[in-house]
Amino acid sequence: MDYQVILIENNRVMLERLSTVIQRTKGFSLVARYQRAGDALGQGAVFKPHIILLDIDVGENRGLIHEFAEAFQNAAILCISNHWDSDGASEVVKAGAKGYLIKPFSSEELVDAVGTFGKSGMAFGSKSLAFFSPKGKSGKTTLIANLALSLAQKSGEPVGIIDADLQFGDMAVFFNLTPKSTIVEATRDIKFLSPITLNSYFVPVPEMENLRVLCGTRKPEYAELVNIQSFEEMVRMALSLYRYVLIDLPPGFNPISVAAAELATKTYMIAMMSGGFELVHMRRAIEIFKAWPDFKTRLGTILTRVSPCNSAERKRLESILEYPISAILPNEYILVSAAANKGRMAVDIQPNTELSININKLSDDIIGLQGMRW
């Protein structure tokens, strides 16, 4: 059976235009259309709609979303608007809408929107996780790739990775992906995107339908094309698509890593134990984050290649850092590099290693975190 659609659109010309799109979309039937939301509320029930497209450019319609959700309990309410507004989108989802679509939309976008939002609705209470390292070679990308896979498997919810290590992002190599679009195009186009169209910039990970990756730049010089404000907007929009957004960052304090940390629900600082001065660098970097009044909850720390990887060593390291450690990971160089060389993940290939167990533990902690309004 087709999806029964009710369209509410105040603008007469737009109403005609969108009606035509819906009528021409395979699998969709337009059962009723209104210019006034009040008419739809009073009359729409007889049509037993599955989908209600509600024009929220009319201010008072936003206030009616809750009534629509009550009156049409078997229908998904998708808000339609001329532009994307992440604060507004957050509110309409709180009020009971399932998704947000930019008008005018095409048949493909309508189908995608229903496919993306139809089952679970737009992500709500989403979490963004920024991964910061003072210096490079921290084991950060390996951790993010494995953690994302673990989060996707354990939660069953959509997970997105943003590779914002602008010059030397490795996420595409880790997952063996060949992206058609990258963070450069996504931030360039963000003004014209809605969550549905942004989703297509993220590349799906094969055999893992709820994990997608926005890959890094193809050449280091493209890093300059990524505007910080557009990046911030893009992350906020991604939060409406994915329950967990993991952001890989270039080492050190720079405009993009600072912006991501400011924006994120939680920032993890990562370093690899390599017999150098990594703990000294971490202590200095932690001092910077102490400018946040809530740094104790917002900043986590992770150490990789910890040997021996046990609680005594963790306590010893915590006393040096003078800061709690969120997770320690053992040295699994051979396993991780063999997996990465094949475009596979260690948690997937060998779920019973200490590395996998510790990553899964961290993902349980993250699933338990309080989400944020986006």
Binding site: Q167, F168, P220, F253, Y333, S337, N341
Partner: protein
């Protein structure tokens, strides 16, 4: 700015982190100084520079102070007022330390670093510059000023090699003379199965110099704060001295042919 002879700048750069830039920079400076040259080692890894950590120096003045001074009074600026000295037997060289505070590091402008390095060039035969692993504004400026760019690589796993390839191509795209860029491989502690020859084919160039794997000696040097070249008996120290000798034209140069041709397919597929 003064007239006269300007010393060489040797930039130690890489696109992968933790490949041994600092250790190699320190040893270059040490070896050049033991040959009798006036040497300054400048830490331009501004946020997390390790030179003073490795050499156990507690600097009182840093590049941040120098940057403030050169901005306030460029005419009377003398970089020598902001240096520390490292001494160990016949080794003695100056050190321009990385900033102590991160906020100082974050706010240093590329032009200030440029003016400081120019000033150092008038006072030293060699200025060895340790950098971060990125094409940042400061690093590009250092590359422009450099006599030689030591592009340090490591044969680790695929992502590192990808970044080495991208870095190599990007530097070549900057339009420098081929002779300015020296590809040096640090074998480091690599446990890889990837063949050196395959990597050379991929990069389209031979490594100018290969440093052998001697993790123990490198770690000891970092722990004790004594440059490797000071203890004359390790293979790694020998190879470092050889590299410096080639830079100072004391060794016979062998000009390698350009590489090209097929890379074994499993490695090649990442770079199509």
């Amino acid at each position: 700015m003064e007239e006269g002879r300007r010393g060489s700048i040797i930039d130690v750069f890489s696109t992968a982190s933790a490949v041994g830039k600092t250790l190699i920079g320190i040893n270059m400076a040490a070896e050049l100084s033991s040959q009798g040259y006036d040497v300054c080692l400048a830490d331009v890894d501004l946020q997390f520079g390790d030179i003073c950590n490795y050499l156990h120096l507690m600097p009182e003045r840093t590049i941040a102070d120098a940057a403030r001074a050169v901005k306030e009074a460029p005419e009377s600026f003398d970089a020598r007022e902001f240096l520390d000295v490292y001494r160990c037997d016949d080794i003695s060289f100056s050190v321009l330390a990385a900033p102590i505070r991160l906020d100082e590091a974050y706010n240093i402008e590329a032009t200030s670093v440029q003016n400081i390095l120019q000033n150092l060039q008038f006072n030293f035969d060699f200025v060895v510059v340790d950098t971060t692993s990125a094409f940042s504004e400061i690093n590009l400026m250092v590359m422009d000023m450099s006599t030689i760019i030591t592009f340090l690589g490591i044969v680790d796993f695929i992502p590192t090699i990808k970044n080495m390839k991208i870095g190599c191509d990007t530097i070549r795209g900057l339009g420098y003379e081929d002779s300015k860029i020296r590809l040096v491989l640090n074998r480091s502690n690599s446990q890889t199965k990837i063949e050196l020859g395959d990597v050379e084919k991929l990069l389209g160039d031979h490594f100018y110099h290969v440093l052998p794997n001697d993790f123990e000696a490198a770690r000891d040097s970092i722990m004790t704060g004594v440059p490797l070249v000071h203890t004359r008996n390790t293979a790694l120290a020998g190879a470092m001295r050889e590299l410096v000798a080639r830079y100072t034209n004391q060794a016979v140069e062998q000009v390698p042919e350009k590489r090209g041709g097929g890379v074994s397919s499993w490695l090649g597929r990442f770079f199509n």
